[in-house]
């Protein structure tokens, strides 16, 4: 099998999966492309791959990546190509699959081996259901999200098992160092050119790593009322998040705080959802929460179906009272 992700720690996860299932998947090859590829590739030596192909000349456009990976897959007689399901990976995977005549799953949230077969799971029906799928073609292309294979590679390079999955337990480090090689062919230039890259502004805090989130939706009537929610978030020791209309449409909060299909999908211990109706494009973003509490004026709001605890009521009444109670508790 062959592995690529522009995020090295994600590539590391996929390589650990390969190592855990070496008997089924055969020898593993890795790739490192783009900026600083040569320097970054050093870490790959100890990451399960028997050989890592390195090229700074491969441009990270979908077409160029797909053709380069297809060329390597042909060269090495690869049956399975595993990509990290970043947006780049999700867009590259189907083009690569089309070139190779392979079946493809482009955003697997879970990847397991069951009875000698690769099984993927991905969200469908707007995140309401999880489809378990099996690719029928001999050649397969799968893009997997961080954590999908049951291991999370830490930035330090030490892998940790995530709860409730089996793959990591089977993972054993490989002693032999893998070799680094240049591409065996000249990478083809894609027709799309990257003109420049603009880093996105970062949210002040790390929402993805936050234990508690207060998510505000259209139930908030005016931007001037935001302090009410800020106060509650502060009392709860939570970060503030929001639905798409509040960031993208109204501009009340930055998009880095937006949850949903086009925003963040964090996994906090507590998600306190205020004035959020629960459109599917949003709920994809909150499903990873351990505990969901919803406050909404409409008893029929779909959000209550997803909630552990629900209150039908006015957030303008509930939020200040909850803030007050939380403050009393922390004093007491």
């Amino acid at each position: 099998m062959l592995v690529w992700s522009e995020r090295d720690h994600l590539a590391h996860e996929l390589l650990l999966f390969a190592g855990a299932h070496r008997r089924l998947l055969g020898p593993t090859y890795a790739t490192v492309f783009g900026e600083r590829a040569t320097a970054r590739a050093e870490a790959y030596r100890s990451w399960e791959a028997v050989r890592t192909y390195v090229s700074e000349a491969v441009e990270l456009t979908d077409e160029c990546l797909a053709h380069t990976l297809a060329g390597l897959a042909e060269h090495l007689q690869i049956q399975l190509v595993l990509l990290g399901a970043t947006r780049r990976g999700r867009a590259t995977a189907p083009r690569l699959a089309q070139i190779l005549g392979a079946g493809c799953v482009s955003e697997a949230v879970e990847l397991t081996v069951e009875e000698g077969q690769l099984i993927t799971s991905r969200y469908t029906l707007g995140g309401n259901t999880l489809a378990r799928e099996r690719i029928l073609t001999t050649r397969k292309v799968i893009a997997a999200v961080p954590g999908a294979v049951g291991v999370k590679a830490a930035a330090s390079g030490v892998a940790q098992a995530t709860v409730g999955t089996g793959a990591a337990k089977q993972a054993e480090p490989v002693a032999a160092a893998g070799e680094l090689l240049p591409l065996p062919f000249q990478p083809s230039a894609g027709r799309a050119r990257v003109v420049r890259r603009e880093p996105k502004p970062r949210a002040g805090a790390d929402l993805a790593g936050s234990q508690r989130l207060v998510c505000i939706g259209r139930g908030l009537e005016r931007a001037e009322d935001l302090p009410l929610i800020h106060e509650l978030a502060k009392a709860l020791g939570a970060e503030l998040a929001c639905t798409r209309p509040l960031s993208y449409e109204y501009g009340w909060l930055p998009e880095e705080r937006m949850l949903g299909i086009s925003g963040l999908r964090p996994s906090p211990r507590l998600m306190l959802s205020l004035g959020v109706s629960g459109q599917v494009q949003h709920t994809v973003g909150i499903m990873g929460s351990r505990l969901i509490v919803a406050v909404n004026r409409e008893a029929s709001a779909p959000i209550f179906r997803l909630a552990d605890y629900g209150i039908v009521g006015d957030l303008y009444e509930i939020a200040p009272k909850l803030t007050e109670q939380l403050r009393m508790r922390s004093k007491g």
Partner: protein, 267 residues
């Protein structure tokens, strides 16, 4: 210039119900509508057409293309009302159960039968299936460059310049037409067509083709040709508690605080 917008008819998921097991989605009889991402793509195409109409000597034709069942007739009128010049539907019972690879082949064949396109616009994925594979597979089949996850798009003559919305950065990419571009919902706000446009939509040209018209064998794209087998598709088993806290506001808040304490989620 011809812009083809590939549109998918999707389920209205706000009305999704489940069987008594609470996990099996009930899709029979679920209302259908034009996909949300596709409306962003169509809106962009219509804006290019409007911009071209203000410049002498340039003209843009917008073709709405869709493949599926005869139900497409219900939703394609909305695309025509939004400003597409004509619609092409590929309707065939053999398309039932088609996967992303099959659907991409049908769309590619239809675009070739149309005589090609300068710009092909699609949503980044569909609201319901969300395989997200069609734009890239279509670009590969037609051997065209692709720009994906686009949140802003400009045309300068034959040059297309786009901002890709990636996780940590905007990537500004350009290429020459013809090209395939997939868009995100941040691209624009699709228009609501006025009544006059809705009335006119029924008079716009609409072609309906079968797989036979595209010279594609019936068994080449539907369920039997699928490359991916769905083993099950269920709502996740982790059931939520669904406890509603009733009573006066004071009581509700106290009950919530007690629950949060019990669950061990407070700082």
């Amino acid at each position: 210039m011809r812009i083809v917008v590939c549109l998918k008819q999707v389920y209205d998921l706000a009305q999704l119900r489940y069987r008594s097991d609470g996990r099996t989605p009930l899709l029979e009889g679920l209302p259908v509508q034009l996909g949300a991402f596709e409306k962003n793509a169509l809106e962009q195409a219509v804006r290019f057409k409007e911009a071209a109409s203000r410049e002498p000597g340039s003209e843009v034709e917008v073709v709405a293309l869709s493949a599926g069942s005869a139900k497409l007739q219900e939703t394609i009128k909305e695309a025509l009302a939004m400003g597409a010049d004509r619609a092409v539907l590929v309707v065939d019972p053999a398309l039932g159960g088609a996967d992303a690879a099959g659907t991409a082949r049908v769309l590619a064949a239809a675009i070739q039968k149309l005589g090609g396109a300068d710009l092909i616009l699609l949503g980044e994925g569909s609201d319901d299936e969300y395989t997200g594979q069609i734009p890239s597979r279509l670009a590969a089949l037609l051997n065209l460059p692709q720009i994906t996850f686009v949140r802003s798009l400009e045309l300068e003559g034959r040059l297309v310049r786009a901002a890709r919305d990636l996780e940590q950065e905007l990537e500004i990419v350009e290429c020459e037409l013809p090209a395939v571009v997939s868009v995100t919902s941040e691209l624009n706000t699709p228009r609501l067509p006025p009544l006059s446009a809705i009335l006119k939509a029924g008079r716009k040209p609409m072609d309906t083709w079968s797989l036979h018209d595209l010279a594609m064998p019936a068994d080449s794209v539907g369920g039997p040709a699928a490359q991916v087998e769905v083993l099950s598709n269920l709502a996740p088993a982790q059931a939520r508690k669904n406890v509603m806290l009733e009573g006066e506001v004071e009581h509700q808040v106290e009950a919530l605080l007690a629950a949060l304490e019990r669950e061990g989620v407070l700082p």
